[in-house]
Amino acid sequence: MATEKAANRLLATTRTVSRELVLTTVVAACIAGATALLLLVVGFPVGRGLAALWVGSFGSWYAFTSATLVRAVPLMLTGSAVALAFRGGVLNIGGEGQLLMGAAAGAGVALAVSPSGVMIPVTIAGALLAASIGGALWAAVAAFLRVRFGVLEVISTIMLNFVALHVVSYLVRGPLQEPTGIYPQSATIADALHLPRIAGAGRLHVGFLLAVLISATFGWVLRHTASGFRLVATGENPTAAASAGGIDVSATTARVFLLSGALAGLAGGVEVLSVTFALYENISPGYGYTAIAVALLARLDPWRVAATAVLFGALEAGAGAMQRDAGVPSTLVSVIEAALILAVVVAQSVRSRRQEPDTGAQMLSVDA
C-alpha cells in the first residue's frame, strides 16, 4: 500500500518535473527564435548576435555565475515579492521604490559603522534587516492607504516609486554623499561588509543562496501552511475568504503588502552589499518592473520564480554581450521580455476560455 502510494507520488513528481522541463525548453526555444527574427528584421547579424547572447549568459561557467546568476538574484527577490503580492490580491507595482528604499536603508547602516571581528556578520545581517524594513515601511504607506481609504495600490505604488527615486536622489546629494562631495553617490561600503562570494563561482555571492532559500520557503508556505492558504484565498476571492473562511481580509492584505515590500527592500540591500557597493540613483535598471514579467512568466509561483529569474538574468547578461560583441542594442531584450509577458497573457486567456472557471485568470484581475 505504502510503496504503491510512494510510487504514485514519485510518478506524479516525475511527470510535473518533466512537464516543467519541456515548458522551459519551449520557452527557451521561443526566445532564441524571437531574437533571431528580431535581429533579422532590424538588420543585425543573426548568427553573431545569437552567439553573443549564448556566450554572455550560459557560454561559460564564469558567464553563468558572474553575469547570469548575479543578475538573477535581485530578480528572484523582487519576483518573489511580486508573486506573493499578486497571489494575495495586492497589485504591488511599487517593487522599484521599495527596492530603492531598501538599498538606501542598507547602505545607510553599512556606511554608518565600521565594525571588526564578530561584529562584521552582525552588521551585515543588520544592514539586510534594515533594507527589508525600509522596503516594508515604504510598502506600508500604500498598504495603509488601501486598507484605510480604499486607494488603488496600482496608482499609489507608482507615485511612491517616484518619491523613492527623489529620496535617493536627495540622499546621495545630501546626507549620504561621498566625502569629496563631487559625485551624486554615497561613499564605498567597506570591503569587510561586502557579502562573501561563493568559492569557485566567480562574482556570485551568498545573496544568491539567500534568494533561492527565500523563493523555496515561500513556495512551500503557499502550498502547505495555513497562512499561505489565507493569502491565496484572500487573493482569489476576498468576499468568500471573509464570509466562508473567517479570514481577516484587511489584515491579510496588509501583511502581504508588507512582506512583499520587505522582499523588494531586501533585494536592494543585497544589491548594495554585493554588486554596487555604494548607493546612487540608477542603482536599479528597473528590477522592480522586470520583476512583474518574471513573476507572471512563473505563473506567480515562488518556486518557478527562481527558475524564471535565472532565465531573465541570462537574457540581461546576454544582452550586454550582444551589445559589446555584435553591436546589437541591448534594448532588444526588452522586446523579448514584453513578448514573453504577452504570450503568457494570451495563453492564459485561451486556457480560461477552454476550461472554466479558471482561477488563474481571475487571480490576475484587480479587485477595486
Binding site: L145, L152, F162, T331, S334, V345, S349, E356, A368
Partner: protein, 307 residues
Amino acid sequence: MSDTLAPFLAATVRTAVPLGLAALGELLVERAGMINIGLEGAILAGAFGALVGASSVGGVGAGFALAAVAGVLVAAMFALCVIWIRADQIIAGTALTLLSVGATGTLYRALYGSSGAALRIPTSEPLAMPGLASLPLVGTALFAQPPITYFLYVIAPALAWWLARTHAGLALRAIGERPEAAEAAGIAVERMRVLAILSGGVLGGLAGGTLVLAQAGTFAEGMSAGRGFIAIAIVVLGRWTPYGVAVGALLFGAASALQYAFQAMGWDLPYQVFLVVPYLLTLAALAGAVGRARAPAALGRSLEPRR
C-alpha cells in the same frame, strides 16, 4: 523679480503641455473604467514616430502625424489585449511599456546608427498670438508657444464639454461606473472602450511628439522618462476632470520648473523637495484629504470573460 518669474512661468507651461496632453488621453481611458499604464509606451512611441516623421518624411506636420500614429499603434495593442483577450490591464500596460522601450531603442540604433549621434530635426517654432503674447508676465509663457500648446488649450475645454454635455460623453462615464448596466442600457461598451483607448493613444503619441518636435529637437532612448506615470498621477490629482487635469499638469510643471528657478537663484534647498510635492498631493488626493477624489467605480476591473 519678473526676470526670474517670467522664465519660471514659461518653463512651467513648457513642462506641463506634454503632461497635459498625455493626462487628457489617460483621463478618457480611466473615465471608461480602465487604467492604461502602457501610456508611457505610447508617449515614447510617439516621440520616436515624431523623429521618423520629421527626419525621413520631412517637416513638423509629418512628425506630429507619425507621432499620433505611433501612439495609436501602442494603444491598439493595449485594446487588443484588454478588450479582445480580456487580459489584466496592469499586466498588458506593463508589457507594452516594456515593448515600446525595447522597440524604439532598437529601431533608433538600427535606423540612425549605433553611437546615437544626436539627430537635429526641424522643430515647431513658437507662434505668437497677436496682442495676447505681449501681456505682461504671462504673455510669452502662455501665448508665444508652439501650436501644439494652443491645441491643448482647445482640447481640454472641448473634452470637458463632451464628457458633461453629450450623449456619448455620458455613455463613456456610465461605462466607467458600471459597465454591466451600461451594456444593459444598450451602450456598445466594447466599442466605446476601444475608441477611448485609441483616442488616449493619439494624445499620448502627440505628447511624445511634443517632447521631440517642440522641446528637445531630437530623440533620446527612454526620453519619456516616466511622463506616462506622471500623467496617471495628474488624472488623479485633477479628480478625473479635464480642467482639473489642466491644473494638475501645471502643478507638476511648476514643481519641476521651481527646481531650475531655485538653482538659478542659488538657493541652497534640496530641489527634490519640490519634485516630491505633487506626488504627495496626489497621494493625499487619493486618500480624500484634498477634496473629493473618487475614481470611476469600475476602474481597472477586467471585463467578464467571454463565453
